[in-house]
Amino acid sequence: MLSYYLDLALRSLRRNKMLTALMVLAIALGIGASMTTLTVLHVLSGDPLPGTSASLFYPQVDPRELDGYEPGKEPPSQVTWIDGMNLLHAKRADHQALMTGGSVPLQPNQSNVDPFYSNARYTTNEFFPMFHVPFLFGHGWSQSEDDAKARVVVISRTLNDKLFGGKDSTGQTLRIKDVAFQVIGVLDTWRPNPHFYDLYMGRYSASEDVFVPLTTSRDTRLEHDGSTDCWGSGGGDEEHAETQPCVWLQFWVQLDSATKVAAYKDFLTHYSQEQKALGRFQRPVNVRLPVLMEWLDINKVVPGDVKLQTWLAFGFLLVCLVNTVGLMLAKFLRRAGELGVRRALGASKREVFIQLLVESGVIGLAGGIAGLLLAVLGLWLVRLQPSDYASLAHLDLKMLLTTFLLAVGSTLLAGLLPAWRACQITPALQLKSQ
């Protein structure tokens, strides 16, 4: 029966090619635009570390002086060196790491490679286990190397390919700002999206190429980069950044259970009270402990323009669907005579209804396929854009299925009203007026 309806639908669609093309095109444009923007939104609002992110937290304390205090406002989005080190050494979490970003001049030993600058991360040893960073060769450093300010470095796979031709480079020497560092580990490809652990270094930028112990970076005077926010007498004096009233470090902790989260929040409160008693903190205690995804949300990581485009595209799809409903309605009602004959010959209302739905389903399917092609084209255009997230815009299986469901589902929905109206036709009346 269905194949008969399909045949009828195709005949009817062929009868008025212009109109069919218009309906398919409208659906395709609507679907194409919505899927392009939805895919970009989906990629940008994704979880950077699926499976792990729920146990990663970003502690915030407020070390600022009373100047400009307004109750209820967020504490600073980074920590000072003193607080960072205190919290790090307290070791109250399952894992913790203190870090900041930078840019370092690399001087390769190979004469055929010119010196160049690379993005670097200065961090403490638990960065690697806490964020489940995959290693291709070697390993990260340990607490003792942090304490000893060891001249060790972990490099990315890309950098290893560039400098060492992809071979196991552990044990080799890399000169950074005139200091010799020993390569102890090479990471496998690792690009969490967004760049959650430091949003000031490009929200969707790739992860760094060079990882150096934080203490070593201070000892060898590697400049830090990213945001430095000072208050009071703080002048952003880099030489004495350890004692300046400036926040410039990110501190992450891993807490594996809800009890530990509650305990850690208590610990932060106690810590703030203690610092206030010591006179270092002046403001009322204001601690936060957002989980990773909350932290991204608070910082509005997904660009507003992308959200706006998604809304716009869905508005567009809605207009296209209303358009299709109107055209289908006109089309079905115009065939009242034909439908009347079918009804008179014994087809039930339900059968006529299904027949018409099949016809709108065919339009939806055609629109969906064309829309998918448009979405692929649209994403290709997005990838040509210069923004740092451009290269991430790819259609995955989930989005592919969504496209089809959206296309066919919405056209069937659009076909409901016209089909229902058309099958209300009384056959006798239609036959009489012939």
Binding site: L22, D178, V179, E239, L308, V319, G326, Q434
Partner: protein, 409 residues
């Protein structure tokens, strides 16, 4: 023209009428908000920088190794000399940043060190005595820096210059009664005396977060001499920029190869700087434009399609009217008026929808309130679009011969 029979006819096509009206309403709501966004973005990206953009390029120079501040300062001065010798170069200045760069050093300015709240935010530009001439700024009051006033600054020092030049926008904010020259302002590291005021100089960031101090800048008489490197801003003689850029690159490396000038953004003409700074805004404006045009086309096609069906359905009735004495014009006017009625309903609903969407956008996306002009433009566009779309089917209707009345189907 009688409206009553049209309304009576429309009542028999409720669903179709409603759908067209709804489509017009949605299209109007989206199109006038899109137009408004386009206008906002275009206005934003045509804000002037105040500098001689056509003849300026910027070199991002990074040093290799770990030279100390004194060494870096000496190397920078050599570089400035080298760049001055390049054919076509008119002037050079070292700086930490330049307008439209995107980010950099922003600071709080106070009029009194005891003040709790800052008086204004400001962009910090490091400069030497060539800064004003290189950028092509206009000094409106006071004087330029003298060569002996130019200091050496590392990231490790405090920001407390003895003298500063500020922009007119900042001077107006700090000293509304005028005459900023000779007054003292407080930066984060300490006080500085204003010796000059320049007319127009845009901030390094044009993003929304920096819009509070868009044209407020403080020019500091120091060379930012840090091993990480800094920028050289070069002004060339008219028409010689591209050649000078190539020559400058070669000359710098010939003089001292221990440096990095990135292939990607190491040397940028200001034209390139501008296009990079506004890429997102321009992209958004283009996208909004394309969506609006396609949306209008689809709505027009929808109206053509639906009206064509109605004309086809009513051939007999049209024939009867013609036979009873209606002229072709009467028939044409009938369909035009019918469309106008539907469109009016649509734009009325659409106007409310447009305002509602705009109010929602204001809260969600920090946009401004929709100006009524855009709503009006949208309404006119849609009414004209409707009339234009209905014209072809209406003409076809008017050509239906009176004899149609006598035919049965």
């Amino acid at each position: 023209m009688q409206i009553k029979p049209i309304l009576a006819a429309l009542r028999r096509h409720k669903a179709g009428t409603l759908l067209i009206a709804m489509q017009i309403a949605l299209t109007l709501a989206i199109v006038c908000n899109a137009l408004f966004i386009i206008q906002e973005r275009l206005a934003h990206l045509s804000e002037p920088t105040g500098i001689d953009e056509a003849n300026i390029f910027v070199v991002k120079n990074e040093w290799v190794g770990a030279p100390d501040t004194i060494k870096v300062d000496a190397m920078m001065r050599e570089d400035l000399q080298v760049l001055r010798q390049v054919p076509g170069v008119q002037d050079v200045t070292p700086s930490n940043s330049y307008p439209l760069r995107g980010n950099g050093w922003d600071d709080a300015v106070k009029l009194n060190p005891e003040q709790l709240q800052d008086t204004s935010g400001a962009t910090i530009y490091f400069a030497d005595e060539h800064f004003i001439d290189t950028l092509g700024l206009k000094l409106t009051a006071g004087r330029n820096f003298r060569a002996e006033e130019i200091g050496r600054m590392d990231m490790r020092y405090k920001l407390a210059p003895p003298v500063v030049i500020i922009t007119k926008a900042l001077a107006d904010k700090l000293f509304p009664d005028g005459n900023a020259v000779g007054k003292t302002i407080y930066l984060i590291g300490g006080p500085g005396t204003v010796v000059g005021v320049v007319d127009l100089l845009q901030a390094q960031s044009v993003d929304r977060w920096a819009s509070g101090f868009a044209y407020r800048s403080v020019i500091i008489p120091e060379r930012l001499a840090m091993s990480l490197g800094s920028f050289y801003i070069v002004r060339t003689k008219p028409g010689q920029r591209d050649a000078a850029m190539r020559a400058a690159y070669t000359a710098l490396f010939a003089h001292n190869p221990r440096r990095v000038i990135n292939d990607d953004d190491g040397m940028l003409s200001f034209t390139e700087v501008r296009s990079r700074a506004y890429e997102r805004d321009r992209g958004m404006a283009i996208l909004m434009g394309v969506i609006s045009v396609v949306l209008l086309a689809i709505t027009a096609a929808g109206i053509v399609g639906l009206t064509s069906f109605w004309v086809g359905q009513r051939r007999k009735q049209i024939g009867v009217r013609r036979a009873l004495g209606a002229t072709r014009d009467d028939i044409l006017r009938y369909f035009m008026t019918e469309n106008l009625l539907i469109s009016f309903g649509g734009v009325l609903l659409g106007a409310f929808l447009a305002i509602a969407i705009n109010l929602w956008l204001v809260t969600r996306f920090e946009m401004h309130r929709l100006s009524m002009v855009y709503l009006l433009i949208g309404v006119v566009i849609l009414l004209l679009l409707g009339q234009g779309a209905v014209l072809a089917p209406a003409m076809r209707a008017s050509r239906v011969p009176p004899v149609e009345a006598t035919r049965s189907v």
